[in-house]
Every structure is written in structure tokens, then in C-alpha cells.
């Protein structure tokens, strides 16, 4: 037995396993979620600077004006960053530790907004900053209006 283990046994410790439910009102973000269910990516647009943001924002952080305009961001975008998660991490949906095969990417969409996603290309050496990607959606009946309704982003030839 290592000294560490001995020390652990010497002192009483216990756990509080809990599941605490929350219900978050999406409010002004609801339109974004409803859009995903229909296979569309919508972003709010600042009337002053024209910046589009995902997740949608109630005000522009830079100009502090209420965002009322929604812009369809299209289905394609360019890669900003890509890497694999090489360690087991909690799946936020299942709450279980699991390993992740697909690279996590940040994509700058045609409409100007950026978002997170998975990439269908498993070989990260083939992924280059600026390359063109296209959204591949889950079947409509499986979509829940959440970020992972986009199954992954697929590199496309230019």
C-alpha cells in the first residue's frame, strides 16, 4: 500500500451523489433551437456592426443594441481549428465518461457567425485552417433543437 492510500484510509470521507434538475427558458434563443430542428442555422445580427453571433445574443457586446434581425447562416463554413480529444471526457448528454473519436472543430459559417461542431474527417493531418466544410444533419426525426443536431461537418472540394 502506498503512503497516499494509507492516508486516504486514515481519514473519513464520503460522497453526496446528486442529480439536480434544471429547466432553462431559452427565451430569445428559442428561434435558434427551432431552426436547428428544421435543419437551419440562424444567428442574430447586430444592426450597427453587422456581426452575426452563435449562440444568438440579446444585445451586441460591442454596440449594446438589441438584436432583432435573424440571418440564415447557410450550410457551409471554413475551418478555424480542429483537434481530437484524446482523453475520456464526460458526455454532456449521457453523463458517462467516454472517448471521442471525431475531431472537435470551430467553423466560421458563410453568414459570418462561428460555431462548434464535430468533423467527419478522422485524420486531423488532413484538416487545414480555412478549408471548406459542409453541415451533415441528423435525420429530422432525431433532431432536438440542440447543437448536436448537426451530426458533423464534412470537408468539401472547392
Amino acid at each position: 500500500m502506498s503512503t497516499d492510500q494509507k492516508q486516504e484510509q486514515e481519514f473519513i470521507q464520503f460522497r453526496y451523489p446528486r442529480q439536480v434538475p434544471y429547466q432553462h427558458s431559452l427565451g430569445y434563443q428559442s428561434k435558434f433551437a427551432n431552426g436547428l430542428k428544421q435543419g437551419r442555422i440562424l444567428a442574430t445580427k447586430c444592426p450597427v456592426c453587422g456581426r452575426c453571433t452563435i449562440p444568438p445574443r440579446i444585445v451586441c457586446p460591442f454596440h449594446h443594441v438589441k438584436q432583432t434581425e435573424w440571418v440564415d447562416q447557410g450550410q457551409r463554413g471554413r475551418l478555424v481549428s480542429a483537434f481530437k480529444i484524446n482523453f475520456p471526457m464526460f458526455d454532456p448528454r449521457t453523463r458517462e465518461l467516454q472517448s471521442w473519436e471525431t475531431p472537435l472543430v470551430a467553423v466560421e459559417l458563410e453568414g459570418g457567425a462561428s460555431m462548434d461542431g464535430w468533423c467527419s474527417e478522422l485524420d486531423t493531418s488532413k484538416l487545414k485552417t480555412g478549408m471548406l466544410l459542409e453541415a451533415v444533419w441528423r435525420p429530422e426525426e432525431e433532431r432536438q433543437g440542440r447543437g448536436d443536431d448537426i451530426l458533423h461537418w464534412k470537408p468539401v472540394e472547392e
Partner: protein, 385 residues
Amino acid sequence: MAERIAIVGVGQTIHKSRRPDVTTAELCAEAVEAALADAQMTMKDIDHVVLGSFEVADGYFNPDKWIIPEIGAVGKAGFEIQNVGTTGGVTAAASFNLAATGMFDAVLCLAWQKMDEAAGAFSRGGGGANEYWMGQFPMSPITNFARRAYSYIDRSGCTEEHIAMVRVKQDQCAMKNPCAQLRLGLTIEKVMNDVLLAWPIRRLHMCPTTAGAAAVIVCPEARAKKVTDKPVWVEDWFTCHQGGALTMAEDPTASTLRYACDVVYKRCGITNPLKEIQAWEVYEPASPAELRWMEEVGICDDYTAWKLFEQGKVGIDKEIPFNPSGGVTATNPIGCTPVVRLVEAALQVRGDAGEHQIPGKIERALATGYGGQGENVIMMLRKTA
């Protein structure tokens, strides 16, 4: 400023990964005892307390209530602050504000984190205001900093070896700091062969989970001069939060550090930070972040910090004494970490940092707190009033 204020006592625990021998409250008491001893004060001399912890990582709701009796603060004025990674910074800022009113003789700022108890705390990390959207991806500080580092490498032309150099420098400093948690004796080779978590982030590049607490005692000028002959003057502070303005996907290098430093430098009349600030304790939760942070605090131009490491200019006794304590990759009791930075910066100003003391006179020291996706707190300390 209504009153000039000074730090008259600092204390921190010896930071470890596990502390089953103490409760969170008892861990806090260790830091308070150390700070009181340093200031040669007792709890009777303290008339206001400000407590800070990152509750979600602690598993407590308003833990200040439970900790108050253990640190002998029943009957004192006080309140709690929590703001994820910058908790300690906002807590310190609050203690500065309180002392500067001149209404209190001595304000105790205490922050802690007992991360050995925090299993599962981050299973919901990265949620923030976007609980619904971000929550679907396994986001964590690791993926956040992988994204930052990816873009940094992409834009600057630095290599993984340069990031390893940063980590080795951090470890060399930590080896000289008896309070640091990770003191590993690293080499570039060891770092390069370490487990890859998410390219280019290796396990050694990320801050560890730490059980630790830190405290500082702040007094208005008149009181400070009576208490100690080595007051550390708090010249200015600024808490700046990006406030979810940008996600990592939108701008992986976004941080408010540059803006916050600009504000503070202007107010303090600093035009050449590298020359006018002699000690830096900057909250870098991952070793590649140190490169970007060095640029943002004004030490060098954008995307050139890696060259300084290549030239061997960074270290305790080098041209750029950046994070002489070993920094956050060696020790990270999250919510408490900014106060650890403050403690270390104050020790440098006093010349009491021991083996990791920067040689020469330290007139100014800068400590920062970092949190979330770009939140920063700046604390500027000075030797002469």
C-alpha cells in the same frame, strides 16, 4: 482614492492535490493563520472579511457561512464573492475597495478551493449562458486552451517545442517554491513525450487540480504603517469581464487582459511595462496561454513571445521574470488562484519570496486573475507609497 491601502500580511497553504486530513473550512483556517502570523495580528484586529470560492467546483452553496466560524470570524462584517476562475481576483478587489473607504482598520481577503472533493464538477463546465447550446459538446478548460493554442500556433509560427520550453521554465520556477504543488524536474523531452490530451495540449500543459487556500490582510495607510515596516502598496486594480461576449469558436484568442492592462497602465502612468514592472504573476491556466498573455500584458509584440523563450530570456533571474512562483500550471486551486498570485507578487515586492525571489529591487509587481473564456482581474502592487 479616499485612502491609500497596503497589504500588511499574506498567507497560503502548502498546495497539494489531496487534503483528506482537513475539511474545506480547516484548510481556509490554515491560510488565515498564516496571514495573521505574517502581519503579527490576531483575528480580533480584523473587522471585515471577504470570502471567495468557486462554489460549483466546491459543491457547496454559499460555503462562506460554514467557514466563518472556523476562521474565528463570527460577529465580523463580511460577504461572499464567487466568479469562477477570477473569484479570488474579485474577492481581492473587494477587500481593496473596503479598506480604501477608511471605514475598516483591517480587511481579510480569503479564497480557497479544495478540488480533491470536486469530482464531477466540470461535467457541466462550459455551459454558461449558453447552457443549451454549448452543453451538447464536451467542452472543458482543456478543449478551450487546445483551441487557443491551435490558433496561436497557426498564427505565430511557433512549434510544440516552444510550448514545452514554457512548461519547463514554469517547472524550474516551481522547483524553487516550497508551496507549489507540482515540482517535477521536467525536461523538454519529458514534456514532448507526455500524454497528448487535445493537440497541442499535453497533460503537463494544463493546470493541476489543487487543494489550497490563500489570504491577504489589507489596511488603510495609517493603520498599515503601524502594523508593518514592509507594507506592500496596492496601486490600482481592475476587474474586467468579457461576459460571454465571445465564444471560443468566435474568437479563440479573445481575452480582456490587454484592455484591462491598458487601463491600469494608463492610470499608473506606466508606458514601458517591461521596464517599470519588475515582477509578474499572471494567471496562465495552460502553458501555451503564457505566450499569449505575455503579449497581452505588453511585454512583447503579438505572436512573438515564443521567440523570447527560444532566446532564453524568461526566468527568475533573466530579463523577463515571468511567474517566478511557477505559476498556475504548477498550482491551481481555481477560485483561490488569483489570491495566490497576489500573495506571490506581494512577497516579491517585499523581497520575502525566498529561493524564487527575483534578484534586484522590485518596485512594481503585477498579479492577475483569469476565468472562464476571457475574464481578467488586474492587481498592481508597489513598494514605495
